[in-house]
């Protein structure tokens, strides 16, 4: 076993943590930092519940060794809303358009859709479905999720603050 001293930022806050080399990012977030908004679903990189942004790149935290985030800026679902609790247009749209049912996949859906809107602010229906294809909703609430992402994109186009 080898210990690794990692320095990184999570949702704008500087962190320094010593972890074993085999620690995965999902466990670093949930167990070491108590950021339990990120969920573990399939544990094999398929379902998308553990989606996080590492330096703006959408990744499965269940497949990423924690040592890889040394020096990185991580954004989790807890870091989407402002410190005062003001929701992003995307989060508000998920509420307004029924973008969730049981809610277990919602943190991953929000993080993935945030990444999508960052690189494609006005995605087509096909682009949304292709990009979000890897975020599973076992309640099958996909229509509401797609509607919410369209609505958030429209809000941004109308001059709202982008997600």
């Amino acid at each position: 076993m080898s210990q690794q001293l990692l320095r990184f930022r999570v949702n704008g806050v500087a962190r320094e943590v010593e972890v074993p080399a085999e620690r995965l990012l999902i466990d670093l977030l949930r167990e070491d930092l108590a950021l339990t908004g990120t969920k573990e679903g399939c544990s094999v990189g398929v379902c998308g519940a553990c989606s996080v942004l590492v330096d703006g790149v959408l990744l499965s935290s269940c497949l990423l060794p924690a040592f890889r985030v040394d020096g990185a800026e991580i954004r989790t679902v807890e870091g989407l809303a402002s410190k005062e609790g003001r929701l992003t247009p995307l989060q508000q749209a998920f509420i307004d358009h029924g973008g969730f049912q049981c809610g277990i996949c919602t943190p991953g859906q929000l993080v993935a859709a945030t990444a999508l809107l960052a690189e494609d602010p006005q995605p087509t229906d096909d682009a949304i479905r292709h990009f979000m294809m890897g975020n599973l909703c076992r309640c099958t609430g996909y229509q509401g999720i797609v509607r919410a992402i369209h609505a958030a994109a429209d809000t941004a186009a109308d001059g709202g603050v982008r997600a």
Partner: protein, 232 residues
Amino acid sequence: MTAPYELHAPTTAREALELLDRHGEDAHVMAGGTSLVLLMRQGLVRPGHVVSLHRVGELRGISRSAEGWLEIGALATHREIERSPLVRAHCPMLAEAFAKIATVRIRNQATLGGNLAHADPAQDPPPALIVLAAEVLVLGPRGARAIPVEELSTDIFATSLEPGELIVGVRVPPLPAGARATYRKYLPRTEDDYATVSVAAATVAFLASIQSHGTNTFIFGIARMIAISSVA
């Protein structure tokens, strides 16, 4: 959680080779980690030492040589290849084949070198690269060599890499003028699934003239290359 291991994070390919030489079969190379982390999580692989390449900058990047070869570093992610204007300009089929692998999250993490070294017969990149006559660039204890992509995989999860050898990149020769290529796969279930079967094909039609004794003979021909993934 995975079983404990000793982590090594070299900053040069040379240093990585030394580590592989020192630790032999007890060492595994980690590139993006999508396959190796899965194998370790399931207890199928338990390396005592992991040589992670994430700090080896020389294995990154996509470029085009003066002679028109496309050169892709082993650590280029699938998504970087999918979105690279250089790749798209060289051969749109290659960019599209990478765009259709798994999900965006996997494409953001998985690398070309890792994909080839893993030698999973259901993967998309090998057939796409084979029909373009691409070569795998390898560095090892006995120096550098290039292996045609079709000669890399020798069996399921097995390669012709020698112990201590490291994939450093892939190079794709310039395509002949007028060449066309396509990549298709059959996915009966979901878009991110492994293909039941996939096929890559490249063709080039050519017209040549031979001059002999004052007469011109014209030759029209079609050259084709087809590669198929494992059929499951």
